[in-house]
């Protein structure tokens, strides 16, 4: 600790702990081409403050953080000549490797998005924490061990002594992130860089981690550079906000100002695109709305009237699910298998032209349920009635006809389109398989029409999926479903992987299609806000069971089950 102070004392104390000055980073992809990642990014982190660096994927926020840590890949990263990263007045970009190392991990520490992969899987938790202490503070084995236990208890891990001997995989995701934090604060750093530290975690855990970070910041009088894609997340914690888009700073300023009166249209869009818990506009605003017109956040209400949702008794039911169960088996002992109930005894009804939301945290069985409806997983028991026929029991040949009528959109648009097919092939294939359209020419016309319908250009027809952005790909996936003119679409976390601005576009598209074709959706998501925005009726799942179901507005206003209450509380914070 004393060394840290001496270091600070030597340099004439500048007002800012960290100053990023015209940081330009590019990546060399071959001998000639360099793709820029950030362009002249400048901002500062004052002492003992939280600065949020917000931006969507590809905005350059993580690259900036890695540059501060000196962790950019040496062989491909190109840093602009007049760029500077000043920590306590020292330009880290020109520091000697040994000098940079003594700052890294000691003065500046970092935690990452995926705690599971960020921890070394084969080393015990204790060893990984002690390593930092021994490297930077030259602690002895015994002292390091004692300190590591202290750190674990400080980050809120019960039985710290015992946990020191655990391997990372033996801990839950939240605990893993706590270990990462313990490791990061081990040397009492002045600056903690948190790169999307909660994104991989469930809602309830997210909140705890954020609170922990806040506590530690105060106790250790450090600054935090908080990197996230979710502007709303930092509302309560950040002192300063920097908004990045495509490697350029769109706006920076105090958090109060940014949230109350964002000056930049992009910032406004980011704040508005995300479905809220309080309102449900007919259409979600999208980035273009803000960029093209000078729309203000508080003016939304007028621009986007609310939509009323709900089910009524005279709704026709397209799909009736009764007592659906699905078990997986884990091996245990010599010959036994341990059943693991992924879905147990789930019943619900999906009305025509309506959306049933299905919400739950990871591992709750919601995706399994969705897959079981399409027989992509074989259910163990229960029935799924489609026009009175139990489609789970139909022979494959007869099920084929129903296959066309119930479709699915998957979570990851990067994985759900066959990368070796052109968009045309992707769209033609279902029609060919089900004999829609007389010949390929006619199918081609249909496919082009669907492309226009989902908002893509006809030129997309001849291209490959990798040439499209995530949102565009999800549109293609939607178009693929639509070619079959289905009646029911299962949307399995279909917007979770998308950036907020894109998410809104896809949700709007789905809504438009429902309005136009009377589609019924089973909308699966972990994101309560999105589910509330989309669904008329909703189910809350936990550990394979539906703990609560009912009209979505009713559930949001008066959740009955404690779990639902907990989820909502976490979100409202």
């Amino acid at each position: 600790m004393s060394t840290a102070y001496t270091h600070v004392a030597v340099a004439a104390q500048p007002p800012q702990l960290l100053r990023i000055d015209r940081l330009s980073i590019g990546f060399r992809i071959n001998r000639e081409d360099v793709v820029p990642a950030t362009r002249a990014v400048s901002f500062a982190v004052p002492r003992e403050s939280v600065v949020a660096l917000v931006g969507e994927s590809g905005s350059g926020k993580s690259v900036t953080a890695l540059a501060v840590m000196g962790l950019l890949p040496k062989d491909s990263a190109v840093i602009g000549r007049d760029s500077g990263i000043y920590y306590n007045g020292i330009n880290l970009l020109f520091a000697l490797p040994a000098q940079a190392r003594s700052v890294r991990g000691k003065e500046i520490a970092m935690i990452f998005q995926e705690p599971m992969s960020a921890l070394n899987p084969v080393l015990r938790v204790g060893a990984q924490i002690e390593e930092v202490l021994r490297t930077h503070l030259r602690m002895g084995t015994r002292a390091a061990r004692a300190r590591a236990a202290e750190l674990l208890s400080e980050v809120g891990i019960p039985e710290p002594q015992r946990r020191l001997a655990s391997f990372p995989h033996e801990l839950s995701g939240g605990q893993q992130q706590r270990v990462m934090i313990a490791m990061a604060i081990a040397c009492e750093p002045k600056l903690l860089i948190a790169d999307e530290p909660t994104t991989a975690l469930d809602v309830t855990i997210q909140q705890q981690i954020l609170e922990l970070l806040q506590r530690l910041k105060t106790r250790h009088r450090m600054s935090i550079l908080f990197i996230t894609h979710d502007l709303a997340l930092v509302k309560r914690h950040a002192d300063q906000v920097v908004v990045l888009q495509d490697g350029v700073v769109r706006e920076q300023g105090g958090a109060q100002q940014i949230f109350r009166a964002p000056r930049d249209a992009y910032t406004r869009a980011l704040l508005a695109c995300r479905p809220g818990l309080d309102r449900r506009p007919q259409r979600l605003p999208v980035v273009e709305d803000f960029l093209n017109s000078d729309l203000r956040v508080d003016a939304q209400a007028q621009a986007f009237p609310e939509r009323v949702r709900g089910v009524s008794a005279d709704d026709a039911m397209v799909l009736i699910v009764n007592h659906l169960s699905k078990r997986f088996y884990l091996r245990s002992g010599l010959f036994e298998k341990q059943p693991l109930a992924a879905v147990s005894d789930v019943s619900f009804r999906l009305p025509k032209g309506k959306t049933v939301g299905l919400v739950g945290e990871s591992g709750s069985g919601k995706s399994t349920l969705g897959l079981a409806l399409l027989r992509l997983h074989a259910a163990d028991s229960g029935e799924v009635l489609f026009e009175g026929n139990d489609i789970l029991r139909l022979p494959p040949a007869r099920f084929r006809a129903y296959k066309r009528r119930i479709q699915i959109i998957f979570q990851n648009p990067y994985a759900s389109l066959n990368p070796r097919f052109t968009v045309g092939q992707i769209l033609l294939e279902p029609m060919q398989l089900h004999g829609i359209g007389a010949d390929d020419r006619e199918r081609r016309e249909l496919a082009l029409a669907w492309l226009r319908k989902v908002g893509l250009e006809e030129a997309a027809y001849a291209k490959y999926p990798h040439e499209f952005s995530g949102g565009q790909r999800q549109r293609i996936a939607v178009a693929r479903c639509l070619t079959l003119k289905p009646e029911v679409i299962v949307c399995d976390e279909c917007v979770s992987a998308l950036d907020v601005s894109v998410q809104a576009q896809v949700l709007n598209l789905l809504q438009d299609l429902q309005d136009e074709f009377g589609l019924s959706y089973l909308f699966i998501s972990h994101d309560l806000a999105v589910v509330r925005h989309m669904s008329d009726y909703m189910l809350v799942m936990r550990a394979g069971e539906v703990v609560e179901q009912g009209e979505s507005d009713a559930i949001f206003h008066a959740p009955q089950h404690p779990y639902t209450q907990q989820l909502l509380a976490a979100l409202r914070n």
């Binding site: 071959n30 001998r31 897959l371 084929r400 296959k403 066959n418 990368p419 490959y464």
Partner: protein
């Protein structure tokens, strides 16, 4: 971070995955150099296959162990002996024949045969004392054998690798995608197959193939089958793992959801997506089999006698080195085989990098 690649934004023409790979490959200098070498070899063997070059490799143009043209003055005792033999055989000595007439059932036609034989008396063409890259023991050109050997060895490597890859891919796809009892059965088969040491397996398969008279007359087929039938396991392992991975990928689920049949999902959807892995395996096998052919030749299971391969050449060469006839060893072992195999391996590496940009 998203990876971003420069996009060719001209409408219409859209670079597929293969095209992009080709673009990446073109930027790899070592890869391109290897590609040129490999293509040169392929042209060479095509020319040799259609008889444009080295068609006369079996002709004994030179003396036994003729010296290479660039080293004309090495001592060559083998040549002297074989020349002496030719002179000796030109003179025949019929003086004892009379004693045999009495018991010979063909005695009646002696004179007619003698007459006819005279019309066949042809002079053997003179044999050269040197050949471009030396001669083998019969006096055949080592250079021609190098070319012809390249043709056979590469053909064996390619064909066997094709068979092994097809078997491995088929089994791997079935086991990985269908799972359950198909997987159990194929895994059992795989375990049995890989439990037996490779060398013994080779011996055993040779025994089977040789015992089948229908296969015996097929020339190259024997060795191609031996290599192909024993080499599929590695491909199987990889392809199976890939299929298990891809089976749960969303695009396959999506294909299932739109009603694509099992076969379609396996071979139209998944197969193209792992084809780069298979391609790399294929080229690794080609190299492996070309080398295996050498060992098989050493064990006496080489190509048929009216063909020549690098393996049979090296087998001959092993005894020639000690008596100072190094050209066959150098020609087959280093100048052609090592160059081709090196180029092919480097090309495979470049291909792997080009097809899978993540791995770098």
């Amino acid at each position: 971070m998203n990876r971003r690649l420069p996009r060719t934004n001209d409408a219409g023409a859209s670079p597929g995955v293969w095209r992009l790979a080709w673009q990446r490959l073109r930027r790899d200098r070592v890869g391109m150099a290897s590609l040129y070498v490999v293509v040169a070899f392929l042209l060479l063997i095509a020319a040799s296959h259609f008889g444009l070059i080295a068609a006369d490799w079996q002709q004994e143009k030179g003396v036994s162990f003729a010296n290479p043209s660039f080293l004309p003055h090495l001592e060559n005792r083998e040549a002297q002996q074989s020349l002496q033999l030719q002179t000796a055989q030109a003179q025949s000595d019929p003086s004892h024949l009379a004693q045999f007439r009495a018991v010979d059932p063909l005695a009646a036609t002696y004179d007619q045969v003698q007459q006819r034989a005279l019309s066949y008396q042809i002079k053997e063409p003179a044999r050269a004392m040197t050949l471009p890259f030396g001669g083998d023991k019969w006096g055949r050109s080592v250079l021609a054998k190098m070319i012809k050997g390249a043709e056979i060895s590469i053909a064996v490597g390619l064909l066997a690798a094709l068979i092994a890859t097809m078997l491995g891919t088929l089994f791997g796809a079935l086991a990985g995608y269908l799972g359950r009892w198909v997987n159990d059965l194929l895994e059992w088969f795989y375990n049995v197959f890989t439990s037996i040491p490779y060398l013994l397996l080779i011996f055993a398969i040779i025994a089977v193939v040789k015992a089948n008279p229908a296969l015996q007359s097929q020339g190259l087929l024997t060795i191609v089958l031996v290599l192909g039938l024993t080499g599929w396991t590695g491909v199987y392992r990889l392809v199976r793992a890939e299929y298990m991975k891809h089976t749960h990928r969303e695009y396959v689920r999506a294909a299932d959801a739109i009603g694509a049949s099992v076969w379609r999902r396996m071979f139209v959807h998944i197969l193209p997506n792992i084809s780069h892995i298979i391609l790399v395996q294929l080229s690794l096998l080609v190299v492996g089999f070309i080398k295996a052919e050498v060992i098989l030749s050493f064990l006496g299971f080489g190509v048929p006698v009216d063909m020549v391969s690098w393996g049979t050449m090296l087998d001959e060469a092993q005894n020639e080195l000690v008596i100072g006839k190094w050209w066959q060893l150098v020609g087959a072992g280093l100048l052609t085989m090592a160059v081709f195999v090196t180029a092919f391996s480097l090309l495979t590496d470049a291909l792997r990098d080009a097809l899978d940009p993540k791995l770098k």
